[in-house]
């Protein structure tokens, strides 16, 4: 039934541009063509399998050609990937690319933009609202992206905006874990209405058929809906967003309900910015949602059973030019909703604070994060420091970074320290040395050493070389940040932007 509704919405939307084609379209009436794109090639000599019994090094060549074409109100794009392994039998199970080899048309799309109608066919990423009902994105932690293969359309009529979509998507982590592709079907719709006095209301509904992890079983089913409301700069100072969602999941004939609630209020008064958030998630996680964390963007959060508020204060609070920020959150589980895990409450107190300063040639950022699971006796800490000193007339930069994550489980500890020292010279490139130490009390200590060179022979070309090992995670070097999977070996990279 839901799919019929979505199909009807798509048909209604498709009829709209016939009426709207003579409207004002911004200047987008140029009907000539333009082609642009990127070509990224990486070659890896990957040693990560060496730790596995019988594991050996293997080489991997990966080419990603991205071509985009603009014409009138339309654009089209393809991302053609080529993967070649020296010996597919040796490929580390942690390498998600192992599921593919040879040529793969990873992404392909045609997009039509106009007022009041937009549509895209082919592949796309998407999210509804704040990600509570739908979120399909690249998984940066593993560097693997699998978009929806289908279609989406948006119709804007004055204060009303309506979006509908449907398609198929594969869940890469799950596929990798079971060594076979999981293909799920998703469809959904979202609407938003702008009201007078800078208020808005909206909502979304999503249905999903998720391929069971058990062979020869019926698909799992998910139905989730949300309503939202809020206001922009109410009274000139206050932004508000509230969202409530309910979910019904059926797995192997058993149906469970859950809910998600989120509230955010923010205001800037003079040099001080305040952000207050409240979250209430119960049995709320499924493969394709990602609700707000109500906490630091750098930390991991579970969304299945948690509720509580947090308050963040930030800005040039002391009026000294230094940006200061601090946050405090007090979260707990739902004690009275019959948790299968027998939870009797699991309070977590979380706070973090930091500063950012730019003074002449010096840039400094430092922060400290702490999470204390009171009932479990587990603590987490995260320390970050990043220093840059400009030199050579403002074109050189000496940088030092330190990132330390400590987890104390009571009976065991885990400590991952990352350090880097780098030098960059604009516009030529950068040299970075990295060191990381992973100390797990139950396993032992592992050291990671690595060196990276990036060179820009011209503005549109990057040549990079990394030799060594890295535990994976957020890596900032050479003036760029990216999230990388664990690696050990040599990686050469060529990127051309045209």
């Amino acid at each position: 039934m839901s799919r019929l509704v979505i199909a009807a919405l798509l048909l209604v939307m498709a009829a709209a541009p016939v009426r709207g084609e003579d409207g004002d379209d911004g200047g987008a009436e140029d009907r000539s063509y333009r082609l642009f794109g990127t070509w990224n090639v990486t070659w890896e000599d990957n040693q990560t399998a060496e730790d596995d019994p019988g594991g050996e090094a293997y080489q991997k060549l990966k080419s990603l050609l991205n071509l985009n074409l603009l014409w009138w109100r339309m654009s089209a794009g393809v991302q053609l990937e080529y993967l070649d392994y020296s010996d597919p039998e040796l490929v580390d199970p942690g390498d998600l690319d192992r599921l593919r080899e040879g040529f793969e048309l990873r992404k392909y799309w045609i997009e039509y933009l106009s007022d009041p109608f937009d549509a895209r066919l082919g592949t796309f990423f998407t999210s509804f609202g704040h990600g509570m009902t739908l979120y399909v994105q690249k998984n940066d932690v593993v560097g693997f992206d699998e978009p929806i293969h289908g279609g989406t359309a948006t119709l804007s009529l004055g204060r009303l905006e309506l979006t509908a979509l449907g398609g198929e998507v594969s869940e890469p982590l799950l596929s990798n874990r079971f060594g076979r592709e999981f293909e799920d079907n998703l469809w959904g719709s979202t609407a938003r209405i702008e009201l007078p006095a800078d208020l808005y209301i909206g909502g979304s509904v999503v249905g999903a058929e998720l391929q069971s992890i058990y062979p020869d079983q019926d698909d799992d089913e998910v139905d989730v809906w949300a309503v939202e409301a809020g206001g922009v700069e109410l009274g000139g100072v206050l932004d508000v967003h509230a969202e409530w969602s309910e979910i019904e999941q059926t797995e192997r004939g058993r149906t469970e309900d859950g809910h998600g609630g989120y509230l955010a209020l923010s205001s800037t008064m003079g040099p001080v910015t305040l952000l207050g958030e409240y979250k209430d998630y119960w049995n709320f996680a499924y493969r394709y949602n990602n609700p707000p964390t109500a906490g630091s963007t750098l930390e991991q959060y579970a969304h299945d059973d948690v509720k509580g508020p947090r308050l963040m204060v930030s800005g040039d609070i002391l009026r000294t030019g230094t940006r200061l920020y601090g946050s405090y959150g007090d979260f707990n589980t739902h004690r009275d909703e019959g948790s299968l895990g027998g939870t009797e409450g699991d309070q977590q107190l979380e706070w973090y604070a930091g500063l950012e300063e730019t003074a002449g040639p010096l840039y400094l950022e430092a922060s400290y994060f702490s999470r204390d699971w009171k009932d479990r006796g587990v603590t987490e800490e995260h320390i970050i420091a990043d220093v840059h000193i400009a030199t050579l007339g403002g074109r050189g930069d000496v940088s030092f970074g330190y990132d330390s994550r400590l987890e104390d489980l009571g009976h065991a500890t885990s400590d991952l320290d990352r350090t880097y020292l780098g030098f960059s010279l604009s516009p030529y490139g950068s040299v970075t040395a990295r060191y990381a130490r992973d100390d797990k009390s139950s396993v032992g200590t592992e050291d990671f050493w690595g060196g990276e060179v990036e060179f820009f022979p011209i503005r549109d070309i990057t040549i990079g070389l990394f030799i060594g090992s890295d535990p994976g995670g957020l890596v900032c070097s050479g003036g760029q940040c990216r999230i990388e999977p664990p690696f050990d070996g040599m990686r050469a990279r060529f990127a051309w932007r045209f």
Partner: protein
């Protein structure tokens, strides 16, 4: 599920791919002209922003995220450049790429820095992915007054802002100022 894949998914994907490839091949044959860059996103308050509406301006689009340190170092420099050159036709657009879950955090973040240039949201990363499939941040696009993609800028290293400034001044039609800046004469352009 297996039957569904065999009967519906594979032909559907093949047809979609064939359609897009055919469209691209047609376009490649005629790709000598000069279409203009375009995308549509929402700003932090939910208002629509369309790049094509700004034809006639020199536009610098910078993709950034709240967790990206080089982005935080570059954005205040772009704000200074925007404040100085907007009256001569420069528009800076900040495209935030944080996921949808972070939407409520972005406006407070921008307010702290008091950025006056427009900030739009690309939570799905469809626009970012079009220009930069490997998604390193920051990533910049310089677009001329006709809507052509003039240059791209991967990352931010200390001093890159001077090169960007030269490129922008050239597109603004300030060859003399650009030459002065290139010769290491800070202030030459703005004093003109």
């Amino acid at each position: 599920m297996g039957d569904r894949d065999a009967l519906a998914s594979a032909p559907c994907r093949r047809a979609g791919r064939a359609a897009v490839i055919g469209f691209l091949l047609l376009g490649l044959a005629a790709a000598a002209g000069a279409g203009q860059q375009d995308f549509k996103l929402k700003d932090m308050d939910g208002n629509a922003f369309r790049l094509a509406d700004h034809r006639g301006e020199v536009v610098y689009v910078t993709f950034w995220a709240t967790w990206c340190v080089p982005c935080r170092r570059e954005l205040p420099l772009l704000e200074s450049m925007y404040a100085e050159l907007k009256d001569r036709g420069l528009l800076v657009i900040g495209v935030n790429t944080d996921p949808a879950a972070n939407k409520s955090k972005i406006k407070p973040f921008v307010n702290q820095y008091k950025f006056s240039f427009p900030t739009v949201l690309d939570p799905d990363n469809n626009v970012h992915d079009t220009y930069n499939p490997t998604r390193e941040l920051p990533y910049g696009l310089l677009i001329d007054r006709e809507g052509n993609l003039h240059k791209t800028y991967a990352g931010y290293r200390t001093g890159d802002e001077e090169l960007l400034r030269e490129d922008i001044l050239k597109l603004l039609g300030d060859a003399e100022g650009a030459a002065g800046a290139a010769a290491g004469e800070p202030g030459a352009a703005q004093d003109e």
